[in-house]
Symmetry: C2
């Protein structure tokens, strides 16, 4: 019997701990795995030998595991750490695999997005090149839904449900005054507009907003935006606009106010203020009430409005990761295949990590409307089933009863 190690990386989602709970429960149940370890703050925790014993925390408590499943944020903490290329510097890899050896780790699970899959790729390449018997499996998560190799990503459905619910409630809020208004809602998604697109789910027979949807896949023109608003104002009093934080002009420059801000460690520009920038522009161009709303980190942390479909799938990809590792697979990411859209059916499989790491899946052109300010019906049908169902959150004194994560800073 050997041990396994789990870590989480990148930005949180409401359900990344559901995947963790899946890995833990299947590992604990497995006769092939002795102790389940967790690394604190992703791969950095391995480099620092900062591991915790998850078996001892969860072994005898199904109730604790259930609470973990329904707690947002990341029980094991996160990092945004990029491993060097193996050929440039293999010292860190030696250290990581030494730690694995010291702790008899034969299975390593990394829950994350496309940057984290780069870590999975490099570790599995190193293991192969240096004949290390450690199975390396990636478990997808991101609210951005921008991973290749999977129909959609765990975490996206819950974020989409939060965005759609919030857009519905904001739209209702705008209708109450009899004066013209423009409300601009800024939604996360650096280069891929999946989450911004999910705002369209707020439309139903009682609600036609959002009225305009601007995706980062399409160059943004301020002149066309103002023209779109002017045309709409002839027909509608209260206009709601959904806009991605990452929209750029035709030269590739971000529209947001903080274009000159610093990049993060992966070279991504830190974005915010797109909604506020547009608010100021509309204020100057149109004579009406204007408000911008940035949904901010609530998109990735509002477990109280998570999608049950997403919670279930996230748990299952965690469980399947253990199954695949025990079957001997390595250098794989667990993935979801959609079998049938009409009566949403899916199955879980795995995909070579090379096909996933360091790539970004963006919305294809045919799913964007001709006038570039909306999405098409097939994209709506694609997202729709992912927000179905409400998990049974336990409330205590009026608030969700989330699991203790104080070990992250003690």
């Amino acid at each position: 019997m050997s041990n396994c190690l789990i870590a989480q990386s990148g930005g949180p989602t409401s359900v990344i701990n559901a995947s963790l709970s899946g890995v833990i429960s299947s590992s604990i149940e497995s006769s092939a795995i002795n102790t389940v370890y967790g690394s604190i703050n992703g791969i950095q925790g391995v480099l620092n030998n900062n591991l915790i014993n998850l078996s001892s925390i969860f072994k005898d408590s199904k109730e604790k595991l259930e609470r973990l499943k329904l707690t947002p944020s990341m029980f094991l903490g996160s990092c945004r750490y990029k491993l060097p290329n193996i050929e440039d510097d293999n010292e860190q890899y030696k250290l990581i695999f030494d730690i694995f050896k010291q702790n008899d780790i034969k299975y390593f699970f990394y829950i994350g997005g496309n940057d984290s899959m780069d870590t999975v790729l490099k570790l599995s390449q190193y293991a192969k090149a240096y004949k290390q018997d450690v199975k390396i499996i990636g478990i997808p998560k991101t609210i951005d839904n921008d991973l290749y190799g999977t129909d959609h990503t765990p975490g996206f459905g819950s974020a989409a449900k939060f965005v759609a619910t919030t857009l519905l409630e904001i739209s209702y809020d705008t209708y109450i005054y009899d004066i013209p208004s423009v409300t601009i809602v800024e939604i996360m998604g650096r280069n891929a507009g999946w989450l911004t697109a999910s705002s369209a789910l707020a439309r139903n027979k009682n609600n036609s907003s959002p009225d305009l949807i601007y995706l980062p896949e399409v160059p943004f023109s301020i002149a066309e935006f103002i023209e779109n608003l002017k045309q709409l104002q002839k027909k509608k009093r209260n206009i709601v606009v959904a806009v991605s934080e990452g929209i750029k002009d035709k030269n590739g420059n971000y529209i947001c106010a903080c274009q000159n801000s610093t990049n993060d460690k992966f070279g991504h520009a830190k974005l915010s203020g797109t909604g506020k920038t547009l608010e100021d522009i509309v204020c100057n161009e149109l004579n009406c009430k204007v408000r911008s709303i940035e949904l901010n980190v609530l998109q990735r942390s509002a477990m109280h409005i998570a999608s049950l479909t997403d919670v279930t799938e996230s748990t299952l990809v965690g469980k399947k990761a253990v199954e695949y590792a025990l079957e001997g697979y390595t250098g794989k990411m667990v993935s979801i295949i959609r079998k049938n859209n009409n009566s949403y059916e899916y199955e879980i499989t795995h995909v070579d990590i090379e096909k996933v790491a360091n790539k970004e899946k963006r919305i294809p052109g045919e799913w964007i409307s001709k006038d570039k300010n909306d999405i098409t019906a097939p994209l709506l049908e694609y997202i729709k089933p992912l927000i179905y169902g409400e998990p049974n959150i336990e409330y205590k004194e009026g608030l969700p009863n989330y699991i203790n994560i104080n070990h992250l800073f003690s």
Copy 2:
């Protein structure tokens, strides 16, 4: 048999329609009331004779009334319209009471905050002076909880629950990275800090944030704020600050960036950007990750995380308003009395409108901590029971199934 008329005014709350549902159901049930009318966009709808027949919409549909109860925003729309003083100009009053006469309105219910209670006061004064037999009753609502004459206001509990839940989820979100951070959450409440104070409910045995709470009742010092943060950073890695949008310096100037923006019709400054202003200041003063989050209109529209206690009480104050009007009371606001805090018990009564209109109830000094950056335990105990319970929202295809309010703009 006469008719009654209902209108809504001021900013929305998640549960203002619950009060409306209470008025409608009791009016429909009453043998003394014939038809229940609603005025579109508050008192302006009366002046424009823009009334709708609520009896015909809701008479035979308990299911529709239940859906109304659990729909945020305002079914009857809103206005921010201040009636002139009667002695300056009584033409509008003549018109209003003419419309009442034309429609055989003997009972008028106005659901709103302290500005709306000014309308209730003036209409009841006019009715008395000019011997008009119309009973005028105010029904309280505001997320700000700043009304005199009632223990707390309908709408506050749900907003407090949203704020506390969100603060909890944001706090968990901040804990995942092992680098120092300051997260500033901007909360509504122009002059009264009740809603900002409710962020303290997010603290429990697993969570100590928010770490600092800045109320508009206390002059805000940027130097002290930075000093508070520096001291805290010695003990804690990820700091969360709850701040009211309305904090002012010792000279009474708003801290927010938009000090020079326009006032609304009641002379209130339009506030936003306090969090962003503080974010920029902290960025310059401390070497750490800084983020500001503005909770914005979600505080008043997020019915999906409303308080069941609040929904129940809001419905009940609506029902009681009808009871009091039929008993012959006029110039009153329905109010809530707390009988027992230990095992939260309340009863509904009424209060003279003169004691309520145009006043703002702020947090008393003894409920603010000595160092002015937190609240005291009795305030926490006061707010706590108001967020208890979760209403049973109906979901359809993954989203709350709210009532149609398209009549507001058709």
